[in-house]
């Protein structure tokens, strides 16, 4: 029998309706309640669970007592095993982390969680990419790619995954913005890591174009291209994110997923570097032969300023615009639907330098020209 782990962050999303831009922290939550915010996550979780309820006989639900899943499972008519019941009055970030960790230890096949970016961060902090997870969108900040498009789809995809009808999994970004900064009108999204999520590969078209290209193949093609163009003597500053990490793997560079790594040709010379380290390397080697490889982080289309702040204005200026290689899957560029790529380096001058049009490398001898805007 398959085991479904369930976590509901009952307070997720409460801040959104009151214009509070999130509910991270007890003070904000109290403020939200005072403004009359009503929990939405429970209803959203229930919608998803109703899709799973059809498998009641074949799935064991494992969850947390009270508001964090037990109530919702019960409402959906699912018997659930309760691992623990949090004692505090209001659910905290620690409760989510503990729940995720215990579900992982219990050996669940999938963790279905209802919440927002903060919840995804907590789940990630607890389980990393060891357990397959899927988010039910219920928070007011959804920058992470771990969520289904709506609660119903989350439930369906969970059911398909548990039935073995969807087997493929992939990495999805866990992103979050600094809520304090956001409230002050600044967006400063960080890439925290990647959760492993089920991937619905069964998008079959009418036969003419076939199924969508998988990321794996797109990365193969981009990597083949880089193989041919990488100059052995040049410095390569390889950015963050799963796309660039996939290329690092293919190029045989033992780099990091969330960090910036530096190579000479395809030889790794510095791992998970800071801005200062990059500048030192550029100083030592001469910046003119260096190149930066970055990808698009998050759904908004950022190439600089989100999850790769190490690539600072000084680094960018030193390397020069013409030495920036932007890599991405065609899928990701297409999903922008004509919206530009974005830069937010913190320096208006550098932003201005980067705006205009850039060629994004999307395959072997294939590039897409995209507008870049600040």
């Amino acid at each position: 029998m398959k085991k479904l782990g369930l976590i509901v962050n009952p307070i997720a999303g409460m801040g959104g309706r009151c214009g509070l831009k999130g509910t991270d922290g007890a003070e904000i939550l109290a403020q939200a309640c005072a403004l009359g915010a009503v929990p939405e996550a429970p209803d959203r979780a229930l919608t998803a669970l109703q899709q799973v309820a059809k498998l009641a006989d074949d799935v064991e639900v494992v969850t947390v007592g009270g508001d964090m899943g037990a109530k919702e499972a019960d409402a959906a008519g699912l018997d659930a095993r309760i691992l623990f019941t949090p004692d505090g009055r209001a659910t905290t970030s620690e409760d989510t982390r503990r729940a995720a960790a215990e579900l992982a230890a219990h050996g669940v096949d999938l963790i279905l969680f209802a919440g927002g970016d903060g919840t995804a961060r907590d789940v990630y902090a607890a389980v990393g990419d060891d357990v397959v997870c899927l988010g039910i969108p219920a928070g007011c900040k959804i920058h992470s790619g771990v969520y289904a498009i709506n609660p119903r789809n989350a439930g369906e995809l969970a059911a398909l995954y548990l039935q073995g009808k969807v087997k493929a999994t992939g990495r999805a970004e866990v992103m979050d913005i600094d809520e304090d900064a956001f409230r002050e009108g600044r967006v400063s999204a960080e890439l925290y890591g990647y959760l492993t999520v089920p991937r619905d590969a069964a998008r079959v078209q009418g036969g003419k174009a076939g199924r969508t290209q998988k990321d794996e193949q797109a990365l193969d093609e981009i990597a083949y291209y880089l193989f041919d163009v990488i100059e052995p003597d040049s410095l390569y500053i390889l950015g963050t994110g799963s796309t660039v990490f996939g290329l690092k793997e293919r190029l045989g560079v033992d780099g990091t997923l969330l960090g910036v790594d530096v190579t000479r040709g395809r030889e790794l010379i510095a791992k998970d570097v800071t801005e200062r380290q990059i500048l030192e390397l550029l100083e030592a080697e001469g910046g003119d032969k260096a190149k930066i490889v970055v990808t698009v982080i998050g759904g908004q289309g950022y190439i600089f300023g989100r999850g790769n702040q190490q690539l600072s204005p000084r680094v960018i200026e030193k390397v020069g615009r013409e030495n920036i290689l932007v890599v991405a899957t065609k899928q990701k560029i297409a999903a922008l639907g004509g919206r530009p790529l974005l830069v937010d380096t913190g320096s208006e001058e550098t932003n201005a330098l980067l705006t205009g049009y850039m060629r994004v490398i999307t395959g072997y001898s294939e590039q897409i020209a995209v507008r870049v805007s600040a």
Binding site: V204, Q205, G206, G207, K208, G210, R211, Q213, K214, Q217, D220, E221, Y224, F227, Y364, S365
Partner: protein
């Protein structure tokens, strides 16, 4: 207002209907739609095309009049082959190909178009039995493109960029291969044909086969009709250097000739036209490409491959595209093959043909063709100044006839034959000057003894 033209193929050309539709859209004329096009780009003149055949009968008469200027291989006795073959097209095949359901379908998914997918699957399955290979593409344009595809597949499989090709191929086909393969395989080197036997010159192959060569392509029967029986040795030579063996085969021969997979061929290609598809002035072609169903090969097919798959109803056959993402399966690919509208209808027809023929039909037709062509070659060889066949190895369906001893050119001979309602063999003197005044003759099951004797008789008169 003058009487409006109403077109049988355009229902909404009726003025009242048009008016109603314009009103619903809220515009007064289609010009309001075409306002999207800058005025200076608008075409203001009258299209300089012929006046219409307003009635269907006028159209038929017009085409009848044009066709009256043609002659065909029923009225005349034809000995032309070289890739377009005058085989008999059974009524069932023609009936199925002309069903509007198949004929006018396109790329619908395998629910409403289930039958098309299944017919294609069965076509591939019949070809698989014939070739003893269990992966077969949906047909590409023709043999030339299939052979070109084999070259590119070979390059991808081996990550090499040179090809060897035996000279005994159609120069047109070779031209097509070179142009198509250029970006992946810029270098083609020709391997000699033994001038006596007509077989692949193994010594030359051995010399030219290096570890830079991706693929060696030969044909069996060759363009000259010669049956290549050194397959195992060819495969040995090519495999010793890590290359891929590709061969063009004539499917109609495979009831009597060994399946290419059995003598080391890894990629088999050819044309399905001979399998019950009318010649139609060269319009009946369809190229097949086949390999074993192993990821190494399967991953390199550029075409759609229709796979059988279960549906939500137990026991029901469903279909879908197998491994759509094939283009870089374990190999680097600098330039992909393109996909498009190719020749699926001819695949369906060929599938019906093979289902009708069965193993016995294929054995019988192969033997019958060999008997007739052997008979004709024997009789021609008895004529003064004629050598037939030119090559000593056994042949299938086609053979080279040399007229050097007659003092006449092939062009002269063919002109005289034409007056006697015979299409003589393809003149090879420009393409293969080393063969002198030679022609490529093709004999199939449509030829009766009388037809063959008529040619002999005519040549006796002409020479």
């Amino acid at each position: 207002m003058a009487d409006a033209e109403v077109f049988p193929y355009i229902p909404n050309s009726v003025p009242e209907v048009k008016a109603e539709m314009l009103k619903a859209i809220g515009i007064s004329s289609v010009e309001d739609i075409y306002a999207e096009i800058p005025d200076r780009l608008r075409f203001k003149g009258e299209l300089q095309v012929p006046p219409r055949c307003k009635s269907e009968y006028e159209l038929r008469r017009h085409i009848d009049d044009l066709f009256a200027k043609n002659k065909d291989c029923k009225e005349y006795i034809g000995f032309l082959g070289g890739g377009v073959y005058n085989h008999y097209a059974p009524s069932v095949v023609t009936t199925i190909m002309e069903r509007d359901e198949f004929l006018t379908s396109y790329v619908g998914d395998a629910y409403a178009d289930h039958g098309k997918w299944m017919a294609q699957f069965e076509y591939a399955s019949c070809m698989a039995e014939l070739l003893e290979m269990d992966a077969v593409n949906t047909p590409t344009y023709d043999w030339g493109m299939a052979a070109a595809t084999a070259i590119r597949m070979g390059a991808r499989i081996t990550s090499r960029d040179e090809a060897l090709v035996c000279t005994a191929v159609s120069p047109d086909r070779l031209s097509c291969m070179k142009n198509y393969a250029w970006s992946a395989v810029p270098t083609f080197t020709m391997v000699k044909t033994d001038p006596t036997t007509g077989l692949v010159d193994l010594k030359d192959l051995e010399e030219k086969m290096t570890d830079k060569v991706a693929v060696f392509y030969f044909e069996n029967p060759s363009f000259f009709g010669v049956i290549e029986h050194q397959g195992a040795r060819i495969a040995e030579i090519v495999h010793a250097k890590g290359g891929v063996v590709a061969a063009g085969v004539d499917p109609i021969s495979l009831g009597v000739l060994e399946a290419p997979a059995k003598y080391g061929v890894e990629i088999a290609v050819g044309d399905v036209q001979g399998l019950g598809i009318a010649m139609s002035c060269g319009g009946g072609q369809g190229g097949f490409v086949a390999t074993q169903d192993e990821p190494k090969y399967f991953g390199e097919f550029p075409a759609l491959m229709f796979g059988i798959t279960p549906t939500i109803v137990e026991g029901e056959y469903g279909f879908g595209e197998a491994l759509f993402e094939r283009t870089s399966y374990g190999s680097r690919e600098k330039a992909k093959d393109f996909l498009g509208t190719m020749a699926q209808l001819h695949g369906i027809g060929a599938g019906v043909y093979l289902a009708l023929m069965g193993p016995k039909g294929m054995a019988e037709i192969g033997e019958g063709i060999m008997q007739r062509s052997a008979y004709l070659a024997g009789r021609l060889n008895g004529l003064k100044g004629i050598k037939a066949p030119v090559f000593s190895a056994p042949f299938f369906k086609e053979f080279v006839v040399n007229f050097d001893g007659t003092g006449k050119t092939v062009a002269d001979v063919n002109k005289a034959l034409l007056e006697r309602k015979i299409f003589g063999g393809k003149d090879l003197s420009t393409w293969f000057p080393e063969l002198g005044q030679s022609a490529l003759y093709c004999v199939t099951e449509v030829h009766t003894k009388d037809d063959l004797d008529a040619l002999v008789g005519a040549l006796e008169e002409v020479l």
